[in-house]
Subunit: 161 residues, 2 copies
DNA sequence: GTTAGACTTGTTATACCATAACAAAATCAG
DNA sequence: CTGATTTTGTTATGGTATAACAAGTCTAAC
């Protein structure tokens, strides 16, 4: 996924925010100003955003600039399933399927740093089965794959040519 | 895996150290005192060790107590394939298969914090295929599963009984 | 055995990531 | 309105990781 690819990213943001409103309303959760704005800022790209990067953006807009502000917003959004944490980057990413129960499986491009979330029921089933073979009861999964995305592979090929 | 389980853990350590010696010798790498001792300390259990925990242990033994000391040792051991980093814990774990090229797939017990490394070629193949479907060229994989290990499930069952 | 170069370690400083603890303010239900 | 609950403000601190440069150590070639 390049920075200037086909999709209209405003749609991503709008959809994510609408889903967030709906979900919070349904669960009696309050999507306050800072939480809402944090979610929008995280959704500004498909690259994970660090907590302190987010904090700086919020501070620019007049929000409180102490770390708890941003970590509280992140906790809220994580619990609501509206964002994911990318463990290998200590950074946070908007979730495009917040309305569906799911695990976050990620493809992380080393080059452009865009992250694509993918779903793969087969892999989940295999992992549960494999864990069970070891007598292990699975609770959570961190699946983060890195490499080169289609766009960056293309560009690498052009450079070589 | 409980703390008092069947295996003689000295064997784990001895094997790991012997492998490390062999590997470093073969590759013209130097397993210096601090690197060797760091590896031993990481191997003291099957629980991942944090960088600063390791630093404290090294400092007790007279090694330099500044962070770069431990991070350099960790970098060396990671590059040599002798340890893995558990991203979701920011901690480091001895690798039992340093002599074989492999990805680190982990089962992490929430209760006893022991970590078991497992190998699963099928899952690796599925992930490569899935990535390829998205035009993605895979380079590295972070697979970290948490839950309850066999021993801790057993104990939980006993408590319930 | 001396010396140049590469590698390793020492040292200081700093940046980044995350949470504890308690006070103040806003919101909501009765 | 008021008391309870939730959210936010504020200060402080703990945990993770690296930059930059100096000093020491090892090794290979002379």
């Amino acid at each position: 996924m390049s920075e200037e690819n086909a999709h209209n990213h405003n749609d991503c943001i709008d959809t994510a925010l609408a889903t967030a409103e709906t979900l919070c309303l349904a669960q009696g959760q309050r999507l306050t100003k800072v939480r809402r704005r944090a979610l929008e800022l995280i959704w500004e790209s498909h690259r994970p955003l660090g907590a302190y990067q987010l904090l700086a953006k919020l501070a620019e807009e007049g929000f409180n600039s102490a770390p708890p502000t941003v970590y509280r917003a992140l906790d809220f959004l994580l619990n609501a399933g509206l964002i994911h944490k990318v463990e290998s980057m200590n950074a946070y990413l908007g979730c495009a399927h917040a309305d569906k129960e799911h695990k976050g499986y990620f493809l992380i491009c080393d080059e452009c740093h865009n992250v694509m979330e993918f779903d793969y029921q087969d892999i989940h089933a295999s992992l549960v089965a494999k864990a069970a073979q070891h007598g292990f009861e699975l609770r959570s999964e961190t699946i983060e794959l890195t490499g080169l995305c289609a766009d960056c592979r293309g560009m690498a090929a052009e450079v070589r040519a």
